[in-house]
């Protein structure tokens, strides 16, 4: 399969990820969507690496690995925060978590 196929696929996944991030009210779903975004990015890395000029440099997988590691850390911290937020606000609804706004 050609690079464009993968790019289109990752773009679609990006779109779906954004959809989740931008439209859903629940923080956790937003975190899901962020994970989707991460994966779409990884897919691109690997795709470009696969169809890229010098695959032996292993740029793609290396990036992907690091990305995965960071994503994992991110999810961990994100969910910890969500738990803390929930404990304090008793809700995970983004629309209600607007105490940071200007009065």
């Amino acid at each position: 399969m050609t690079l464009n196929h993968y790019l289109v696929l990752s773009a679609i996944l990006l779109g779906i990820g954004l959809l989740g991030v931008l439209t859903r009210r629940n923080i956790i779903v937003v975190l899901f969507s962020i994970e989707i975004l991460f994966n779409a990015a990884n897919l691109n890395f690997i795709a470009f690496w696969r169809f890229g000029p010098n695959p032996e440099a292993l740029m793609g997988p290396m990036f992907a690995l690091f990305a995965i590691a960071v994503a994992a850390a991110e999810v961990a911290v994100g969910l910890a925060l969500v738990i803390a937020v929930y404990r304090h606000f008793k809700t995970v609804d983004l629309e209600k978590l607007d105490t940071l706004r200007e009065p």
């Binding site: 954004l18 991030v21 931008l22 439209t23 859903r24 009210r25 983004l94 629309e95 978590l97 607007d98 105490t99 940071l100 706004r101 200007e102």
Partner: protein, 634 residues
């Protein structure tokens, strides 16, 4: 005769005036006044004797004011003319003073009357003796003031007050002319001295031009205006008849003998100017016209004093003719002297008659005085004869001299004068018939005046008759007249005129029922040829027009000021309300603050705390970034 003694002549009556001003008691005031005048009369005679023998002398008195270069000093001049005038004034004045003590005896303000009289005498003497045109002018004004005060003496009579005011204003108008003349002379020659040892006004030849007219001519003209004002020549004569409102001695003294003569004296005094200026024919003709008109009006009058007033005006006209026609002032002055006496007599006579008839002035209500007041009547008739210029009376000599002079100079004028003399004779006889003949038409019978009044009458009568013959020749010679032969036709006409007039008068009036309307008193004559109305129409209206204009101007300017204030108010309002109120408060200060506030609020809306919103903006940013990079790359 030293300067101080000469100065005493006018100063004595002045002192008397000052003393009597404060007095209450009439008799004592009269005594003081008469005493002072008598003293000055003696001095005058002494001065006359000196002047008669010696030549003219100038006595500088004192510096009135010295302004830088020009020094105005008051000086007196003693020469035949001034001496004669002074003695005439003092003598006649004395008689009148004596007469008025009787006449004014029971008037409460008699002291004040004598104060004014002595003030008048002082003014007159000052005028006559002064060598300085300014001093002359100042005394001229004093005389005017005195006449105003005397005319308006019975101030409670509104007509008297009005007459006084009118007299003063008309003479004041004349004085303006005199003042201007004086100013012209002063500015041209730098001095106001008439005779200053060669540098005087009359000695220098004033050559420079002023207003396009020779200086001399101009000065003489202006002086003549002054004279006309004072002596009641035609345009300015209206005040004289009204001046009869004053007590009779006043009329006698002022409006017969002295004051009115001042004008003629002025012309005589400054004769060289008139001669140099060539204004003599003008003088003559005005005189002639005045004589004619006055005579005509006199015919139509019924008030005894008014008739005499108009006869004075006419005689003054004749004097002016005398001056204008002759080569020297002598003839006019000679007539003046003689006229002074018999006119004073006539006036005093009229005074005693009206006094007798309980202040009745209207001749139609008189009659039969001859029987009731024999002495007054006799004196009065002597005066009348002199007035008519009955042959060999003083009037005859002086009038004859005038006619001779005019005959030589200007024939048509001669005929004019002759005719006016005829008229004079006519109205005199008319008056005499009205007053003396027939039965008394008045309310209650007349009674003879007391001695204090009749004695001066008799003295005056003597002078009126004899004066001409006795002194005539010497007087004229003294005054510098060249004794010309009397051409026969002149004498014939004068005789014809005098006797014819009397005969005509007698014919018309004797035997008539004097209550019936007088044939000769035509309406225009009675109405004094509507001179007053004429003046009122022209000058009066002009005058009130000017005042109206001034008041209008005042109103307009005041309104303008009002407008300015209104404008200032409005602009103040405008600035405070619109500029300050709207512009600065709303727009500049509060408006701006509100704008910022709203801006802030709008900005705050971004910080809505709505997380998806933030994320959307982030994505939008990346989108635009992506587009931009894409755009860059392509």
């Amino acid at each position: 005769m030293s300067a101080s003694t000469l100065a005493l002549i006018p100063c004595l009556p002045l002192l008397a005036a000052l003393c009597t001003a404060g007095m209450r008691n009439g008799r004592r005031a009269a005594a003081v006044a008469i005493g002072a005048l008598a003293m000055s009369a003696l001095l005058a005679l002494w001065a006359l004797s000196q002047a008669w023998t010696g030549d003219a002398q100038v006595f500088p008195l004192a510096d009135w004011l010295s302004v830088g270069g020009t020094r105005i000093t008051f000086s007196l001049r003693l020469d035949a003319l001034s001496a004669l005038m002074a003695s005439m004034v003092t003598f006649v004045g004395l008689l009148i003073f004596i007469f008025s003590t009787g006449y004014m005896a029971h008037d409460p303000r008699c002291a004040r009357f004598f104060c004014y009289l002595s003030l008048f005498a002082a003014g007159m003497l000052g005028l006559v003796l002064s060598n300085n045109l300014l001093l002359l002018f100042m005394s001229w004004e004093i005389v005017g003031l005195a006449s105003y005060l005397l005319i308006g003496f019975w101030f409670h009579k509104p007509s008297a007050a009005a007459a006084g005011k009118k007299a003063f204003i008309v003479t004041r108008l004349g004085d303006l002319g005199l003042l201007l003349g004086l100013l012209v002379a002063f500015t041209q020659t730098g001095t106001l001295e008439l005779y200053a040892g060669g540098a005087g006004l009359l000695e220098k030849d004033p050559g420079t031009l002023v207003w396009g007219v020779g200086a001399a001519k101009l000065v003489s003209l202006l002086l003549f205006v002054g004279a006309a004002g004072k002596s009641g020549q035609v345009p300015l004569h209206v005040w004289l008849p009204d001046a009869m409102e004053g007590p009779t001695p006043v009329s006698a003294l002022i409006h017969a003998a002295t004051m009115v003569a001042a004008g003629v004296f002025l012309v005589a005094r400054t004769f060289p100017l008139f001669e140099a200026g060539g204004t003599l024919p003008l003088v003559a003709w005005t005189g002639g016209v005045t004589a004619l008109i006055a005579a005509l009006i006199a015919l139509g009058q019924f008030d005894i004093k008014r008739i005499l007033a108009y006869s004075t005006v006419s005689q003054l006209g004749l004097m002016m003719v005398g001056l204008g026609a002759a080569t020297t002032g002598a003839i006019g002055m000679y007539h003046l002297f003689t006229h002074a006496y018999f006119k004073a007599l006539l006036f005093l006579g009229a005074g005693s008659i009206s006094h007798g008839c309980h202040h009745e002035q209207d001749i139609r209500k008189m009659g039969g005085i001859a029987r009731a007041m024999p002495v007054t009547t006799a004196a009065y008739l002597c005066g009348a004869l002199a007035l008519v210029a009955f042959p060999y009376t003083s009037g005859y000599f002086s009038k004859d001299a005038v006619l001779v002079a005019v005959y030589g100079a200007d024939r048509p004028l001669f005929y004019l004068c002759a005719f006016s003399s005829l008229l004079t004779a006519l109205y005199v006889t008319r008056q005499c018939v009205y007053v003396f003949a027939g039965a008394h038409r008045g309310a209650h019978a007349p009674h003879e005046s007391p001695a204090v009044m009749t004695v001066p009458l008799v003295i005056l009568a003597v002078f009126a008759l004899g004066m001409g013959g006795l002194f005539g020749g010497a007087l004229q010679a003294k005054l510098g007249a060249i004794h010309a032969a009397h051409p026969f036709p002149v004498i014939a006409t004068s005789w014809a005129v005098a006797l014819g007039g009397m005969l005509l008068g007698w014919v018309i009036y004797s035997g008539r029922d004097l209550r019936a309307p007088d044939p000769l008193a035509l309406v225009p004559l009675q109405r004094k040829l509507w001179f007053d109305e004429l003046y009122a129409a022209t000058a009066g209206r002009l005058w009130s027009g000017l005042t109206a204009l001034a008041v209008l101007l005042q109103e307009m300017v005041a309104a303008l000021a009002e407008l300015v204030q209104e404008l200032a108010q409005a602009t103040g309002q405008f600035f405070s309300r619109s500029v300050d109120g709207r512009l600065i408060d709303q727009l500049a200060v509060d408006g701006l603050a509100r704008r910022f506030h709203e801006g802030g609020r709008a900005a705050v809306r971004f910080q809505s705390g709505f997380l998806p919103g933030y994320l959307r903006w982030v994505v939008l940013g990346t989108l635009l970034g992506g587009l931009f990079v894409h755009w860059l790359l392509t």
